[in-house]
């Protein structure tokens, strides 16, 4: 019997979800994370979840893992010391960056400029120049390159990056540096910009290559350590990591290309939501992943999540494909406050985090948070984590009272105000990825997960008009579910930057096929049979002179049949949909991408026993909560005892091990066949 184990390591908890590929049965487990060495928490979780299922780690065939190790290395500045070799005249490429200063007019007065990821001291220039058509303008000089390498060697760099101007068109100069580096710095890993990212835009390409080099040692150590511990525990199956774009890659590949892991954490939630949506028969989903300090949102249309070509981490914008996840500083730990000068009620982005945390957690927090407001209002009634953890309601009340006093309003009004404002912030983030991209949110369901998502999903769905509001099965471990259920993926991209009139179908096809072969062989190397690999292409097209590309998906067959004229016709159609106008200018083919995908997991989700529509068997007790300006009677249910087809009228609270679902007054929740709660207006 084959088992898949999804493991998501978050800041506070490590979530595990074990899936029996034969029966669709699953087991979940949550254990505290061990930030100093995540593998400790992971191993204890693995043993616990295997014990629950009555198997041993040796029975796990696929270990699938979402991790923030790369993200944290960047955010905390703990990357390796990277030496950077650039074209003469470009030493300060990372120092100048894009010259952008955030914060609006006069924002420069208060902007702390971040330090470049490759130190300027460790950046050196070499002679030689490639032109904008890929031609050599001036040759490189070996003696000059050697001198540069010796300089970096003397400075003790731990990783080496080469990023030369126009190398995306011609990597010969970069390759020469690599050859000499192999002699002079044989033990230092080297990254070449034309290999990591063969695309136009020198700053972005350099940054991406440097970011990759910088997190390589940390990610490498992490992966090797984890692998050996899992092997010691008897796990012989494969180990894969979740990429930012929602696909999986082998742990070995991730050691080479860690920059693809920067959004690994949030990607798990989106792939999990995708799995849930498939089983619930919903095709269009907005996701709302509410954590302690922030909320991640994403859009899935027709069971395909939107992807973007950049990954944003902290102040860095790295060129690596990623799911289009927007993050807003609004979560359970967001702190509410009233500034002296304006007397406005603000919530976040400052957060109490896991430590000291909300006042209600009793871990030393003193400032009122969103969680405290939820406690005051009766939305978080009991203990979290299935009774092992009591909430300090009095403390939460005291804290929220300070807000009420500062505003001169009642306690409940202040608490509800905090919730309304944080919901509004989530609403704003959701608008960015839906309305602003030309999608009507009323055609989407809203799925809330993460510890606090199901508490807010009903209210936010009301703001969006996105129904049903979905509280998925196991909302607290949805990322781990996503890790466990997604497929292998790899891609390669190349700048093309030619007008259609200056190229032809054969040339484009030849390039695409070469790229397809490259990506297929990467998956084949992971042990995937050729007939299980699917290839997709994407072409970025724009009008000549336009600074914005429209990505078009296409397969070889269509391209052969309709030719490049078919591509431009589709572009015009898409451009008109997006921007309401077309132009007479010639078309330009900007970038080519090839994607190879592994097999889809064929698996029936576990079905709940059929109920009779009456949830009373799952009732724990009567309760009171604040709704529409008054305390109202409500009922608390145990999610584990709900049956398929049960109808839960609001206001109600459904609790489970790691999450609480709030069904608001005037709404009703229906339990579907696989255990999701679908909330709709009554």
């Amino acid at each position: 019997m084959a088992y898949r184990l999804g493991v998501d390591v978050g800041g506070t908890f490590t979530d595990l979800l074990l899936l029996d590929q034969g029966s669709g049965n699953f087991w979940r487990h949550k254990t505290p994370s061990t930030p100093r060495d995540s593998s400790i928490g992971i191993l204890s979780g693995v043993e616990a979840v295997c014990a629950k299922a009555g198997i041993t780690p040796a029975d796990v065939e696929f270990f699938l893992h979402g991790t923030t190790v790369a993200t944290n290395a960047v955010l905390e500045g703990k990357g390796a010391r990277v030496g950077l070799i650039v074209t003469e005249g470009y030493r300060q490429i990372m120092q100048i960056a894009r010259s952008f200063v955030p914060g609006g007019l006069a924002g420069w007065i208060v902007w702390p400029k971040p330090t470049p990821l490759a130190a300027l001291e460790d950046t050196v220039e070499i002679k030689g120049r490639v032109g904008a058509q890929g031609e050599e303008v001036r040759p490189v000089d070996d003696a000059d390159i050697r001198a540069a390498l010796e300089t970096l060697k003397a400075q003790g760099v731990e990783a080496l990056t080469v990023s030369l101007i126009n190398a995306y068109l011609n990597g010969a100069h970069e390759r020469r540096v690599a050859e000499l580096a192999a002699e002079i710095l044989p033990d230092v890993p080297i990254s070449l910009s034309h290999v990591v990212l063969p695309e136009m835009q020198e700053y972005e390409r350099t940054l991406t290559t440097v970011a990759n080099a910088s997190v390589r040692p940390i990610v490498g150590n992490y992966v090797r350590n984890l692998r050996s511990k899992l092997r010691d525990a008897g796990m012989a199956g494969s180990l894969s990591l979740l990429r930012s774009d929602g696909g999986l890659m082998s742990s070995e590949k991730s050691e080479e290309h860690p920059v693809s892991l920067l959004m690994s954490g949030p990607a798990g939630g989106v792939t999990g939501a995708l799995w849930v949506a498939k089983n619930a028969g919903i095709k269009n989903i907005l996701t709302l992943d509410v954590g302690g300090t922030s909320t991640d949102v994403a859009l899935i249309e027709n069971l395909e999540p939107r992807r973007v070509r950049t990954t944003e981490v902290g102040h860095l914008s790295v060129r690596a494909s990623s799911l289009d996840v927007k993050t807003v500083g609004a979560g359970g730990g967001s702190i509410a406050y009233v500034p002296e000068l304006t007397k406005a009620l603000r919530v976040g982005p400052q957060s109490a985090g896991a430590v000291p945390g909300p006042v209600a957690y009793g871990k030393g927090g003193t400032l009122p948070t969103v969680t405290d407001a939820n406690v005051v209002l009766g939305y978080l009634p009991e203990a979290l984590l299935g009774g092992t953890f009591k909430l300090d309601r009095e403390g939460a009340t005291r804290a929220v009272q300070t807000i009420a006093d500062a505003l001169g309003i009642g306690l409940m009004e202040a608490a509800r105000g905090i919730i309304d404002i944080v919901n509004e912030n989530m609403f704003g983030a959701l608008r960015m990825i839906s309305v602003q991209q030309g999608y009507d949110p009323r055609h989407f369901a809203l799925m809330g997960f993460g510890g606090a998502g199901p508490l807010h999903v009903n209210a936010v769905a009301r703001l969006m008009g996105s129904w049903p509001a979905v509280s998925p099965v196991s909302p607290g471990v949805l990322c781990a579910l996503g890790d466990a259920t997604t497929r292998m993926r790899t891609e390669t991209a190349r700048s093309f930057s030619r007008r259609f009139i200056d190229t032809n179908q054969e040339e484009v096809l030849a390039l695409l096929e070469e790229m397809a072969a490259q990506t297929r062989s990467e998956l084949a190397a992971e042990g995937i049979a050729d007939q299980d690999i699917t290839t997709q292409f994407e072409l970025d097209v724009r009008y000549d002179g336009q600074a914005f590309e429209v990505p078009l998906s296409i397969d070889t067959e269509t391209l052969r049949r309709d030719g490049l004229a078919g591509v431009t016709a589709r572009f015009d159609e898409e451009h008109h949909r997006l921007f309401t106008f077309n132009m007479d200018s010639p078309h330009e083919l900007v970038n080519l991408r090839a994607v190879a995908l592994g097999p889809i997991l064929e698996l029936q989700a576990h079905r709940l026993p059929e109920g009779d529509g009456d949830p009373s068997a799952a009732k724990i007790r009567d309760h009171e909560l604040w709704a529409d300006g008054a305390m109202r009677p409500a009922v608390i249910y145990d999610r584990a005892r709900l049956r398929a087809g049960d109808i839960v009228p609001g206001p109600a609270i459904v609790i489970e091990m790691d999450s609480t679902t709030l069904i608001e007054l005037g709404c009703v929740g229906t339990v579907d066949a696989v255990g999701n709660i679908l909330i709709n207006p009554a």
């Binding site: 001291e121 101007i165 009620l345």
Partner: protein, 625 residues
Amino acid sequence: MPATIIQANATPFNQVTVDPVTLEVIENALRNARIEMDATLVRTAMSPGIREQGDAFPLIADHKGRMIVGQFGSYIGPFLDGFDGTVEEGDMIFLSDPYSVGGAISHCNDWLVLLPVFKDGRLLAYTSMFGHQSDIGGMVPGSMPIDATSIFQEGVRIPPVKIWKKGVYNEDLVKLVMHQVRTPAWCKADLNALIASCRVAARRVVEMAERFGDDIYVSATEMLLDRNFRAMQHLIETSVSEEPVSFQDYVCDDGLGYGPYKIKCTMWRENGRVVLDFDGTDPQSSASINFFLNENMMKMFFGIYMIMVFDPQILFNDGYYDLIEVRIPEGSLLKPRFPAALSGRTHALGRLFDILGGLLGQKTPQFLNAAGFSSSPHLFYAGTDKQGKWFQLFQIGFGGIPGRPLGDGPDGHSLWPGFTNVPNEFLERYFPLRIERYETVPDSGGAGLHRGGNGINMVYRFLEPGVIAIHDDRWFVPPWGVNGGEPGARARKVLVKADGTEIVLGNKLEEYQVEAGDQLRFITWGGGGWGDPLERDPALLVKELRQGLVTVDGARRYGVVLVDGAVDAAATEALRAQMRAARGASLPTFNFGADIETLRANCEAETGLPAPRQPVWHPTAVAAE
């Protein structure tokens, strides 16, 4: 004669109380709507100036035209005051002529769209956005001829007209306008983008009113304005003195050989209000460096600076305007008489920000920033390539950010909001150019405890013959330092011919012929320094020497002696002691460098350019030369 507002439903809004939570939610929603305007624009605009560099500005105003969110806003009031027409449902106003709107926008390159938002027949709000067009016709590519002597040379001039009139699109109008410009495809797309952004915001405003009720929405905007009024009132009382303070600075030249032009502002508090008086500012120029400054615009600049300098947490809007009075003399550089040319207004606009900084920080040096605004340095390069294809580049450059109370000024960054550089690989791919160097200039940031940011040296190699134009400033009068900090280095432009001959070019230059193979060193200014350079940690200079940001000689300005890449502690101590002894007991709040007469005397030797001559005020005097 003010505009006539025609409403099918003229019922006044009721002032109602709005609970603090709803108020906060509405404020958030407005902020989001404004962000959505920017996002819409970036998706749909086409010119690099707007798309890549972000030269466009949105706002949402209340039904009286007061900006609730936005940044370069505040022009609707002056527009309504001067608009001799009606404002009706289904209308959309389009304009670009500064003289038609009291300087509410300041040169014809900025195309502005204004959408009155009606709900149930009642005027509820305005949304508006303007953006810099790459070309609007006129005598030079890019339409900003520094040597223009009248606005008629600066391209198409659009008075307030209705691009939509009661819901009917005026296609002929757009055709007529697009016929005047060199880049109609870009202009059309950019205009569409401005319109789309305003429409998006209008929809959001109506949705908000539907969600909360019209009266609550309107009352909430009143409260937001009032909140800002109270916050600013408090700031003014605590940070602006009743005793007048003055500050003056200069635009270096006018591109016709005359300069510098003085801008002077005096500020004091009187009966709880601030007066900003520009008496003493030089008369208008006969060239295009005039900046038609609208009084409300100045209030806005002042407000933003107050907030950023003293309390960055305040959300900015128009609510405090009654607290400020602005006086600008007629016929001055800041209020030129029609038909003075205006296209080169960026230099005076930049200088205004340095002056504001100098005014506000004078009594509170701990909040004072050094100077660092030149302008938006422009390079234009146009011609016909070997394939017979017309190319036209308009690029905005950046210099050094000033030393700040917070720390060093960043090297080679933008003082303007939202601006970014254009990737050099993009330039090389799409224009006949090679960018041979793109680096900052060591030592160009003024010395200080917190040094000024270095300026940029960008070396363009032109691969096709063509014409270039340059607009930059701060080449003659340096950016000053504060609290003991020194001035930053000045801007400089040098053309290197294929045979190595170097020609120093003016920083305001039009229609200059370049040959294939010529290299242009486009060097921008460094930011002024902040605080005593002798207090700067010598270890930082060691680091910056290795980084190539300062030189061994440059380190001596900090009294630091570097030998073989390390600090010579004894020599440093001796040098610092000697420098301390040589200077006065107290450090000057401002260090402007040499006075104007000395700058003039040394100009040729120091900059390679003849000194600008004292401006001649009568316009005909220039024409007669």
